[in-house]
Amino acid sequence: MALLSPEVREAVTGILRAAAVALAVSWTALPIILAITYALADPNDYYNMEKVIPTRLTLEHIRSLIALGAGRAIVNSVIVALLTVAFSFALGLPAGYALARFVFPGRDTVKLLLVGMRMFPIIVIGVPLTVLYLKIGLNDTLLGVALAHTSMALPFVVLITSSIFAGIPKDLEEAGLIFGLTRAGVLLHITMPMALPGLAAAAMFAFLLSWNEVFVASVLTFNNRTLPAFVLVQVAAATELIKFAAVIIMVAPALVFVFAARKYLVTMWGITLR
């Protein structure tokens, strides 16, 4: 290396760096792409050991998966995730706003409390909730699952929304007040429109938390399975191609999310996960 001129050294470093990036990207992306390709493979190609990459594709396995009852599981998952978003925003948005805009005694404690609660594993609440839900008739209901998922999403929603509100300059709100808007008016006409894209990203994040959760959903439901629970319990004994088809459906919303919220990706997680 020492013998090489700086230009060559730079070029070599550049190539090595590009290779490393390519390796990292393919390490992450290839398994997803391959699983999706296999999920679309014609059975003759899949069971042919000489065919590494299937060339004949079919939607048959997704249809079979739907025929097994995945259609309802998807609908259930969407309902649970939407309810989770609704509940966690109804509860968390005001709290996030308060943490961003008010200075009040105990604010730091509240924040730390939320940071700590975010760490609390949702697995722990599953089993005891089955007993409570049986008593009050919420067992095997989507509402029950959504309430449990809300407890998982809520601290994240509060922390994310508070950082989004904190990012909106206070001057603008004050200007609104000076121009005769009420507090609610400022919130509605100035703060919210500016916060909206960030809030949408946060909503998608909450949606995905619920969409991906499997433990509580499988423990709390019996007939009304969400998709991951359905896959874990019912699809286990199906053929592999049908299992892979489940990957496509489970991964799709995540792909949409990463694309739609790419601007917020690193900052949002950097803040909330830390």
Partner: protein, 431 residues
Amino acid sequence: MASKTLVGIAALVVVIILIAGVFLYMGRGATVVWASTQLNPAQEQAFVKEELLPPFTQETGIEVQFVAISYSDLATRLEAEMQAGKVTIDLIGDLHGGLDLFASKGWLEDLSKFGALEGRTFLPSLEKFSNIHGIKAYIPWMTATYVMVVNKKAFDYLPEGLTKDDVIKGTDKWTYDALLAWAKKLYEETGSPKLGFPAGPKGLFVRFLHGYLYPAFTGAQVKNFNSPEAVQMWEYLRELWKYVHPSSTTWDAMADPLLREEVWIAWDHTARIKDAIVQKPDQFVVVPVPKGPKGRAFILVVAGLAIPKNAPNADAAWKLIDYLTRPEVQVKVLEKVGFFPTVKEATGAIPSGPLKIMSEGVATQLGAPDALVAMIPSLGPKGGDFKQIYLTAFEQIVLNNQDPAAVLPDLAQQLMNLFKEVGAPLPPPDA
């Protein structure tokens, strides 16, 4: 604001449930109410409502309301209706174990009073099981079982003294010892294990232990759990396991390993090998299981149709039973949801193809002269503990190589306690 939203959503949910309830209630006229613990998955219910029942309604003018219900809900509801003296269920579709219990409580009508069903012959073994507690408790409706699938390639490696015919017809030479010799020869001559079992976390291997090996070697599923014959059986399995594909402990269904030709001989539930046969019908044969010292033991899952006492529309329910056990209707059920017929005429009426291959193997197994039929005990929520006892024995003895004589006594005690605790009778062939 938050609580208002919550209340609003809760109110909305309540309203929707109320409306749905009213609709469901208005939909109920003077129709046959058919409560079934079978055909409950969404796509099977769709088949019942859209394909199975409409021709019946067209033919007889009788409307049928199919109610998918869990076993425990059915038991609770039936008990309540019997105590209140107001029965709403006209027809019950359930497994043998549940119907056995209902009959023992005197909740079921004696079906012999309706006379015979014309134009069909029920399999004799099934007839026997449906006459319990002094009455004809139910009409056998559908069956399911677990069989062996053989890739035709494996027939090139048959051990001495065993022919292809022996295996397909299930002769006296098709024994567990012959299976061992076959598996050994396959392993030695192809270089890898070619026998497989679904011993994964969702696999049904445990059924092979309690419903196939145990009765075949000891004559009973539960009674002789800890016995010299049982010790022999476990030693046999330990020997056999040397030639079993090691991935077996992760397989939940055998269709994939069969299609990939990772294994050439497999045991599994008919529904879980169906895909392999549909995919490559020329490659596989379905054969009866081998026999052991005490007989050719296999599990038979029998679903039956029963009429509760004082059912409001008993005659209409009987007409539905008549319709559901017709050979052509039974074939339709096999084609669409994979349950096998209970009447001999149906087996002959199956069009050739994958289903024919399966039903021939199933029929040979069911009709075997040395058949020793085992049934899954109904232990309710304790069913998991029952399975776990056999699985633990398997893990300790076969996988961890412990002495069966040391492992079995404790587990046998637990097994007996389980039946005592639940108050359940020992399942056939023990009882």
